[in-house]
């Protein structure tokens, strides 16, 4: 569901399409932009090689050939899987990486629980995934990549940086005066606001806006699944945005909030903005009104 931004681009900004969505790179020192883009391309390619579930040659997909045997994996995939397992643990399983198969058969599969993140065994440089279990690291992978890119650019190019991957935003280094300005809006007809986030902060938005799964042309579904049923989560909130100190944290909290439904506000830890099914907006934990 790519929706290119209509935001202006200048000498400090690059924008391009990746992973069926839009990447946007903004730096405080325009002279650093070409080098920053090169680093971002390298990092995104590495993450893609490691965990793109749509590529049969990705390391993640090749893991499926292990059929439940312990398998040596790269440090990058190990970090991605560890990050996903930590997110699952901290959300009580609301965010679960074992939804890969359920996403592939979205709308056609039976109502049953996901295999469960506890089935994944990690030790040293090995991982063991039970036969038949498919991992989806898509959302976490995008947030992880944003954090990675921001830190890489700030540390290597001596510039403040903001990177947005499909609307999941990470920053590092110095920010412009007043902070990074972010439009929080999930579509042309959706309620919107503009906020400023401090240097080093991140933001992610999860959405239940519907789309046509490729194999179901006659049905509209959203893609945030409740691991307890492997079905799209109930839409108490149609959009949740969360700010945190990393994009992985923000994405984990925003995704979990969608899954938790009406109980979400009491459990989200960061500043958050929740748009209810009726379009009303609720802000919590210091999100500006």
């Amino acid at each position: 569901m790519a929706h290119p931004t209509l935001l202006p681009t200048g000498p400090d900004t690059d924008e391009w399409q990746i992973w069926t969505t839009t990447a946007r790179l903004v730096v405080t020192d325009p002279a650093a932009l070409p080098a920053a883009r090169r680093l971002v391309d390298i990092a995104l390619a590495a993450v893609d090689d490691a965990c793109n579930r749509f590529r049969p040659d990705s390391e993640l997909r090749r893991l499926e050939l292990a059929h439940g045997r312990p398998t040596t994996i790269s440090p990058l995939l190990a970090e991605l899987i560890d990050t996903a397992l930590i997110a699952a643990q901290h959300t009580g399983g609301d965010v679960d990486p074992t939804l890969g198969l359920a996403l592939e058969i979205l709308g056609d599969g039976p109502v049953r629980a996901a295999p469960g993140w506890q089935q994944i065994r990690r030790q040293g440089n090995e991982v063991t995934i039970p036969a038949g279990v498919r991992l989806d690291l898509g959302a976490i992978g995008k947030a992880f990549a944003a954090d990675l890119c921001a830190t890489l650019v700030a540390s290597s190019c001596d510039t403040g940086v903001l990177i947005s991957l499909g609307g999941d935003i990470a920053t590092a280094g110095k920010a412009p005066a007043g902070g990074w300005s972010v439009l929080v809006c999930d579509g042309p007809d959706e309620p919107s606001c503009t906020v400023r986030i401090a240097a080093g902060m991140a933001m992610a938005t999860s959405s239940t806006r519907r789309f046509h799964p490729p194999h179901l042309s006659d049905r509209l579904l959203h893609h945030i699944l409740d691991p307890r049923t492997c079905q799209p989560a109930t839409t108490a909130w149609r959009t949740v945005s969360v700010a945190a100190q990393s994009c992985v944290d923000a994405n984990t909290q925003s995704t979990a909030a969608i899954v938790r439904g009406l109980d979400a506000p009491s459990r989200v830890e960061g500043p958050a903005r929740l748009v209810a099914a009726d379009g009303s907006v609720r802000t919590i934990n210091g999100w500006p009104r």
Partner: protein, 88 residues
Amino acid sequence: MTQQMYPARDRGLRRVVLITTTLAAAGLVGTGAAAVLAHADSTTTSTKTTNTSNTTNTSNTSNTGNSNTDSGVSSGSGSAAQAQSAGS
């Protein structure tokens, strides 16, 4: 600052050191990048330790990593957006 689920920035920097070292070994980035990141990791970890021990922040620049509000998010009405946060 709201309590985070885990020390994300420290963990993130360590992660980047690991990954950059890997990229450098593959010849994708210069080995200097790993050294720079390793330095940034130790510096940030040290800074974080200082900031969590109630030591007065002596930085005069407000945009070097500290929140400009308690939550790190403030109203941006009227400012030109540099990015858009949306579901994908």
